[in-house]
Symmetry: C5
Subunit: 267 residues, 5 copies
Amino acid sequence: MKRNLLPVIGLVVGLGLIFASMAADGSLLRYFDGPSLIITFVGSLSAIMISFPLSTLKKVPALLKMLMFAPDENRWGLIETLTHLAKKSRTEGILALENEIKDLDNPVLIHGLEMVVDGTDIDTIEEILNVELEQTEDRHSVGQQVFIKWGEYAPAFGMIGTLIGLIAMLGDLQDPALIGSGMATALLTTFYGSLLANIVFLPIAKNLEIQTANEMKTNEMIVEGVLALQRGDNPRVIEQKLQSFLSQTDKKRKKEEQKSVEVAQEF
Amino acid sequence: MKRNLLPVIGLVVGLGLIFASMAADGSLLRYFDGPSLIITFVGSLSAIMISFPLSTLKKVPALLKMLMFAPDENRWGLIETLTHLAKKSRTEGILALENEIKDLDNPVLIHGLEMVVDGTDIDTIEEILNVELEQTEDRHSVGQQVFIKWGEYAPAFGMIGTLIGLIAMLGDLQDPALIGSGMATALLTTFYGSLLANIVFLPIAKNLEIQTANEMKTNEMIVEGVLALQRGDNPRVIEQKLQSFLSQTDKKRKKEEQKSVEVAQEF
Amino acid sequence: MKRNLLPVIGLVVGLGLIFASMAADGSLLRYFDGPSLIITFVGSLSAIMISFPLSTLKKVPALLKMLMFAPDENRWGLIETLTHLAKKSRTEGILALENEIKDLDNPVLIHGLEMVVDGTDIDTIEEILNVELEQTEDRHSVGQQVFIKWGEYAPAFGMIGTLIGLIAMLGDLQDPALIGSGMATALLTTFYGSLLANIVFLPIAKNLEIQTANEMKTNEMIVEGVLALQRGDNPRVIEQKLQSFLSQTDKKRKKEEQKSVEVAQEF
Amino acid sequence: MKRNLLPVIGLVVGLGLIFASMAADGSLLRYFDGPSLIITFVGSLSAIMISFPLSTLKKVPALLKMLMFAPDENRWGLIETLTHLAKKSRTEGILALENEIKDLDNPVLIHGLEMVVDGTDIDTIEEILNVELEQTEDRHSVGQQVFIKWGEYAPAFGMIGTLIGLIAMLGDLQDPALIGSGMATALLTTFYGSLLANIVFLPIAKNLEIQTANEMKTNEMIVEGVLALQRGDNPRVIEQKLQSFLSQTDKKRKKEEQKSVEVAQEF
Amino acid sequence: MKRNLLPVIGLVVGLGLIFASMAADGSLLRYFDGPSLIITFVGSLSAIMISFPLSTLKKVPALLKMLMFAPDENRWGLIETLTHLAKKSRTEGILALENEIKDLDNPVLIHGLEMVVDGTDIDTIEEILNVELEQTEDRHSVGQQVFIKWGEYAPAFGMIGTLIGLIAMLGDLQDPALIGSGMATALLTTFYGSLLANIVFLPIAKNLEIQTANEMKTNEMIVEGVLALQRGDNPRVIEQKLQSFLSQTDKKRKKEEQKSVEVAQEF
């Protein structure tokens, strides 16, 4: 689960730096202003509420969870599972897969195998799985758009807040000594908007995009494997086909592991 | 109809915040200037009038209505309807569908079934329905573009207004005491343009885009269902295919509902 | 021809507003400066001359004419014409179409029918008409790009003009009283560039894009109709297929018209 | 060759205007500063050197030549040539084309005909010509990207230069009289970057894009023609197909020319 | 290996120019500020850590190595190798290729030939190689995105740093003499962000993109060649097909080399 700590570390390092930089320039307090924070954060949130239906916004917490506890994409294990299932269905018949399904936890794989066991014809399985993957991708993509849009609205509302502050200050220049602090306060919303966009919303959107792409790639492997299994392909060919989804580095690492296992077994 | 209140809530919260923020900095009145509002709103509207034909602009009120009263996309109900129709046409023949059509209200479904009952061949039905969906999508997309463009023109006209104000002020610096208030007035149009774009036009455009995508997905389900019905597919296969359009969450919730119904029926 | 007045109305309203706003701030004359206008308009035009070949630029006047006198896209009339031709060719043979061609004015329809009468085979007709439509679309698209690019270059040259003015002013600050008017003059080119882009070039580009999309849709209908006619399809099926290109609103309005005609005929 | 002068005229007019505008504001000399020019031009060039391999940069001079001496795209002549070759190969056999090849100068046409004469089968010819066209397009596209990127880096390095100047000036405000001239010098790099991008790099990139699109269209015609010739299509059909690549205006002009030739021949 | 020095030369020239320009304006020291550099570089790096999984970030060093030691893409040698293999497999049978594989070093070519020798059927080979190429492209593309995003975050964090500095300065205007140096320090982060983006991150991203495109093109040639070899195509046709991937210049240069070799052989 090491990898999922990275976003948290990034956030802590980034905000820590910003705070240290603010403290170095004097009192930290001058950078905090409740109303400015509200106009930037809640203002941009209100634009998000107009932009997306409630059903989409409800998915945001689940997406944030995905950011912290990404499913472990063990593609080697997946290849082994599918090759094992292919061998079993060749020797014991397709119905033998029924018992194996219980031990699996990937919902796409389970659904695919259930249809294979049910005897659904191959074109229907392909169509159904592809529509399902497309739907999953669409839903994730809408989720990312929430963060992309928020990353656009936050600086915009930051600028709106700064304009309000500037207009107030410029319309009332009686005490020139206050110009500086008026400007400083006006700039706070621009600062908040820029910070929220570049250390929270846009990086989260990118992270979800990359995770979705990885998940889709794994799902493609599953569809490929389930269809090959249904066609009764040779398990070795299935393994070979699925391995083409791995990178050279993955393959090399695997070979070395296998060698060391073999060496260990000799003793 | 809960979901359709969200845009209104968003708008009220967003504008409320902005007004509160303006009031906090002093008199609200200093932020209102009729001519500045006109140059930003009507000026950008004039650019919209040059950009789009009247036939497109006439659709804007209908689109705004869609924002408030989105059609209830009950995909479960749709799957049940289509499965029911498939069973009926299998047992009582395709002509039996004619009576059912009267009870439906989705125009795409009605048109599709009418063609099935008329005995139109399947390729023609597919072609006609697909052209219709494409046309609908095109029309909605042009409607969104009105708001996207308005969201671009509004800040541009805001800046044009500010330039006019700045040039006037700079060309006549005789009384330095007026510089501040001149600048403040000049900035008002930029403020209006930015506000209109980010809390009205761009969020509306995004909302319409998401709604259109949802509607298109539902229409795809209908076409899939009507064609399967015409081919005389097995109702169970039709149901399975259509369910691949639903999310896992939808399916789980449905299963639980069905269970509780079954439990309830036992008593 | 009502619709084609819209761009003119938009331009008059937009510019009227801008002028009114300028006049409200004082003398209109301070906003006019020949050299500033030349550097923005002719400067960006020179960038256009480097960007596009003469053959493309020669098409600009024709495109502007299209803006004012858009061809009347009567799709209902087109459907009636094509259905009428289909009936005629079914009853009197394909050669009977020859006399009808003279009464038509749409060049794509004429060319398509000529090939049908000549006995060209259907694949060749489809290929030729599709290449023709693609070529038309390409040419229109290059025309739009002239205006899109002009809409990018105009503000850029506006900024270049402002930079020249600023550098001149800053390099010669002997009389501080002139700073204001120097700045004002420098900002004029930015103002002109922004105005030209947002009320002339970009709206025209959008207008041409929408018109081209409409024309292409009509041309698609024609190709569909001509091919169906050549295949000898049933006129009713042709009518049905072509009607799928119309919006629900168009269809309803048409039905009501037909009813009122029928009612009128009864008397 | 008239058309190829246009880019030069554009450049002369554009730069002439800029110079005139600078001279009008006082001494031209104040706008020239060697180091500022070097940091903008060579600085952005260094970013180009990191971005592109040497093999791509070596093609830039050839692309610039293309800007000045574009190949004369005589599509009517091409149609006549291909129709003539089709007739000849029908009457005298395909080998008769061998003598004709020597008189041609378009390399794609020559290569295509050579393969036809060699008896290469039609699928191989199509594949080879298409890969060749794709490669040509890719290479031109990379060339355009050099100019697009340069058009992005130039203003960026202009801004970097201005920041260096501003930091120097602000860090050393002892003599306020120098603030103006310091600012003026700092702005020079922004001015150079904006000018280079908008009158040199971006227009050149667009010009190459349009020229490539035209060349590709001509090449498509050639491939269409060569394949039709290999299939032994009717010369009249070949002519008709190729004419669909021409615009209505081209066709009308041609017809008028032919008429005047016929009229002339009558005498 | 000449070409790979270009990025280094570009970087040295670019940074050298910037340093020279800074030195010309006074003391170089005023441009260096540790905390400002840290907030721009590490701050943007923290956003990168949130955006990408660790597995992607681990590939960055390998990508940077690719920047310096790009694989030598000798396409002529590749064509010769493939033609040679085709001849050998025609005369001595496909199994004769086994000995040749040892001398090769391109992993795609080796894998392809291994499958040919193993007797894998052609569709499976094509599918496996295509999935492999797609995976390689995806991985490279994600690597480029790290640099593209860094090129976006760096200026954003530069601006955030400048805002922090400005707010500090404006909130504490007691000694006007410090305004200048406060502004100068505040601008440093914007300067660093702009410099990092435009001379490091964005050029690297572009370089990787171009290199990936070249590598993909070479891989396409290999797939084409391996499949032709498996089909037992005529070696001359294979050579001809593969040559269509070369540019005219490459071909001409080659022909001249061959001629000079022939001339040399005559003596």
